[in-house]
């Protein structure tokens, strides 16, 4: 009888229940939005790696994070290529150059990624389909998320980059992450042409693909011995942890979104408590009557618990839908990879149910004391 009773209490005053639902809806939405931001920053920092093919990453021991990786000599990577565990080892080059064709005559800095097109180092289909274009001399592919300040990004446009005229061969879809406002992809000879002082012997990243069936952890241990001093090897898992730690501890974004998240949790708890306690408080005379006619406390507590759970479940579903919609808008507006994960979805759901139960138990304290004689 508890659940049907809870249901009937909720449907009795529809307006008040709707109000409670909107409250819960907003509380959950708020938590989702802050969570989305909190996780989006490290995800944005990992965007390039998430779109690259490798099992192990060889970097300089000066490696800070993706956009400040340091350099190591190419022969370190060549050494590993001959290892029995390694299928492919691809050097990746990074550089910043002036894009001398921005809107209104400005020269924005562009992040240039150099790699051998034949290595298939990047996952997006839009890159794979244009490898022929990429291999042409003085040609580049530009990331479709490159900002409007760079001017038109149409294929065929010739832009002076650094001291070289480069032709836009096409666009690819990957995202600029925290690499800069604009990102372009070029072949190794084109990269060496753009950065003449540097050439192709100073490498930023070595993307290592292992032979099928090779355990990455074991291979990493073996290759660390072979790669020589001044370098470092990351497995995927280690790299994920390193980049996430960088963005959450080294920059202020972790604290900014972390504190936002914390406050949103508190606000969420306040709302749920406020709503549940109001709902219970309003039914006090009715509950007292039930008590007077002999219902035990336990049965009333279960009713209150069922009531709060019903509200939270009913508020959660639209909040989830709205959060997904809002994430899409935020992705569009900020180019941050704000996404929903199953873990977060269930964590928020669990937290909301937990909050509701705790608030129900707190507000039921008043109910236990409810003396039928007092209420009337």
């Amino acid at each position: 009888m508890k659940v049907p009773l809870a249901w009937r209490i909720l449907t009795y005053d529809k307006r008040r229940t709707a109000l409670a639902l909107i409250g819960i809806f907003m509380a959950i939405l708020l938590v989702f939005v802050e969570l989305g931001f909190f996780y989006a920053v490290p995800r944005g920092g990992l965007l390039l790696y998430d779109n690259m093919r490798f099992d192990l990453l060889l970097v300089s021991d000066q490696y800070e994070y993706q956009a400040q990786p340091g350099v190591f000599p190419l022969d370190r990577l060549d050494r590993l290529r001959s290892s029995a565990e390694v299928q492919q080892a691809t050097p990746i080059y990074f550089g910043y150059a002036k894009w001398k064709g921005g809107e209104g005559g400005v020269w924005p800095d562009v992040f240039v990624i150099g790699s051998d097109p034949a290595s298939h180092a990047f996952i997006p289909d839009s890159i794979d389909q244009q490898l022929g274009v990429l291999a042409k001399s003085d040609t580049l592919l530009v990331d479709s998320a490159t900002r409007p300040i760079f001017g038109a990004l149409d294929a065929g446009r010739v832009v002076e980059i650094g001291d070289r005229n480069m032709t836009i061969g096409g666009q690819y879809v990957l995202g600029t992450g925290f690499m800069g406002l604009g990102v372009v992809l070029v072949s190794v000879p084109n990269f060496a042409g753009l950065f003449e002082d540097r050439g192709a012997s100073a490498v930023n990243l070595g993307a290592i693909v292992l032979k099928p069936g090779v355990n990455p952890d074991r291979a990493a241990a073996d290759l660390r011995q072979a790669s020589g001093p001044g370098t470092r090897i990351f497995t995927r898992k280690e790299l994920d942890a390193h980049e996430t730690a960088y963005w959450t501890t080294r920059t202020s974004v972790g604290i900014i979104f972390g504190s936002g998240l914390l406050i949103s949790f508190v606000v969420g708890i306040m709302i749920v408590y406020q709503i549940v306690s109001t709902q219970v408080g309003r039914q006090l005379p009715q509950f007292a009557t039930l008590k007077a006619i002999g219902y035990p406390d336990r049965s009333l507590v279960t009713t209150v618990g069922a009531m709060s759970l019903l509200i939270v479940i009913a508020g959660f579903i639209p909040a989830l839908a709205a959060a997904l919609g809002l994430y899409a808008i935020i992705r569009d507006q900020t180019l941050l990879p704000v996404t929903m994960s199953e873990t977060r979805l269930f964590a928020v759901f669990g937290a909301a149910l937990g909050m509701a139960l705790v608030s129900a138990l707190l507000s039921v304290g008043g109910l236990r004391r409810a003396d039928p004689a007092d209420v009337f």
Partner: protein
């Protein structure tokens, strides 16, 4: 004592609950607004610290934090114009100076500025105090507010910059922004000697810092400079350059929309909480309101009481949130090295938003009171 106030304090636990609910929504808005202000301030503070009325930079320069040098001879031409008291060059770089933390040997990219120690360009007091010391070769001033992993806050006497040993002659307080973790200031000579390759060309400067003669209008001088100088450079008054940078940051960074979204969500949440509060209050006090109506009070009076009460609710939530946010600004500002501080703008904006959300929700909830029929309530 107004009726609204007595209504408010009649039930203390309820007052506490509603103040806490509204207060946290306000706190959420204050944090978001504060972060937004701090984001912009952190990137604008360095421009604000330039001791000049007019600033000249390459016409291609799209944001402050990028190197785009122009010939120094242009500054010599500018100095000849009437109404100009001084023209001083600033060398600046964001991509090529690597600082080695003297405590752990790790190397990090830092922002670097160079100027002639006899012709200072910064108005940071400690920079001015120590500038003569920069005349010695390979001597630098460092930012004690730089991110801790650089080790600049630990008063090192020596460090390495681009592989060259440098002596630390003093420090100043600026803080990082969202592009640079720390700042090193040195003489123009040290700057160009530490930058190898074409970057270290002393005849190319990044910024011209101009002071106009006393009593001369900077905007007019700026206009004259614009006409006199080649169109490869852009001339800004200091407020114009600050505005240019603010606009750039607002256009390209995600900070604006992110913090605006947070503020809006806080506002809506606050509105809901306050609606809930007002609606519950009104439901509880419906008999009293109906009585007032029955004995002849008009709807206008009742509306005023409800709105006053909503206003009090807003204040009771806002005041503790405002105080708490000052504490949080201080703590988070220290932790995140952000220029988070309470300002008149934040105070007024948050107060306006709080009153707005409480009054709007009161108007939405008040219908019930106005329509209350004394005969029905009892």
């Amino acid at each position: 004592m107004p009726l609204a106030w007595r209504n408010l304090v009649a039930n203390k636990p309820r007052l506490f609950r509603s103040a806490a609910g509204i207060g946290f929504a306000v706190l959420l808005m204050l944090m978001q607004l504060g972060f937004e202000q701090a984001f912009f301030d952190s990137s604008l503070n360095v421009i604000r610290g330039l001791d000049g009325d007019i600033l000249i930079q390459s016409v291609h320069k799209y944001q402050f934090a990028t190197r785009d040098p122009f010939p120094r001879t242009i500054l010599d031409a500018a100095a000849k114009l009437p109404g100009i008291a001084s023209v001083r060059p600033l060398y600046a770089d964001w991509f090529d100076f690597f600082w080695k933390n003297p405590f752990d040997g790790k190397v990090f990219l830092v922002r670097a500025f160079g100027f002639d120690p006899d012709r200072p360009v910064f108005s940071f007091p400690k920079v001015d105090e120590n500038r003569k010391k920069l005349k010695d070769a390979d001597t630098v001033l460092i930012d004690r507010q730089a991110r801790r992993f650089l080790g600049m806050d630990r008063n090192p006497a020596e460090a390495e910059l681009n592989g060259t040993k440098v002596r630390v002659a003093g420090n100043f307080t600026l803080g990082p922004d969202f592009q640079s973790d720390g700042t090193v200031i040195m003489s123009d000579r040290t700057f160009t000697s530490l930058l190898r390759g074409p970057g270290g060309n002393p005849s190319e400067v990044d910024l011209g810092v101009i002071k106009v003669s006393p009593g001369v209008d900077a905007t007019a001088v700026g206009e004259a400079l614009r006409n006199a100088l080649p169109n490869t450079v852009a001339v800004f008054t200091k407020p114009q350059l600050i505005e240019f940078e603010r606009k750039f940051q607002a256009d390209v960074s995600s900070a604006g929309p992110i913090f605006a979204m947070g503020t809006i969500v806080g506002f809506v949440v606050g509105m809901l909480i306050s609606y809930q509060v007002t609606y519950t209050d009104l439901s509880d006090q419906l008999p009293q309101y109906a009585t007032l109506k029955a004995i002849g009070y008009r709807a206008g009076y009742l509306l005023r009481v409800v709105l006053e009460q909503a206003g009090f609710n807003a204040l009771v939530g806002w005041v503790p949130a405002w105080v708490l946010s000052i504490v949080l600004y201080y703590v988070i500002g220290r932790l995140a090295l952000l220029p988070l501080r309470m300002s008149a703008y934040l105070t007024l904006t948050s107060l306006g938003l709080t009153l707005g959300m409480c009054l709007i929700s009161a108007v939405l909830a008040v219908k019930r009171v106005i329509q209350a029929d004394p005969a029905e309530v009892f």
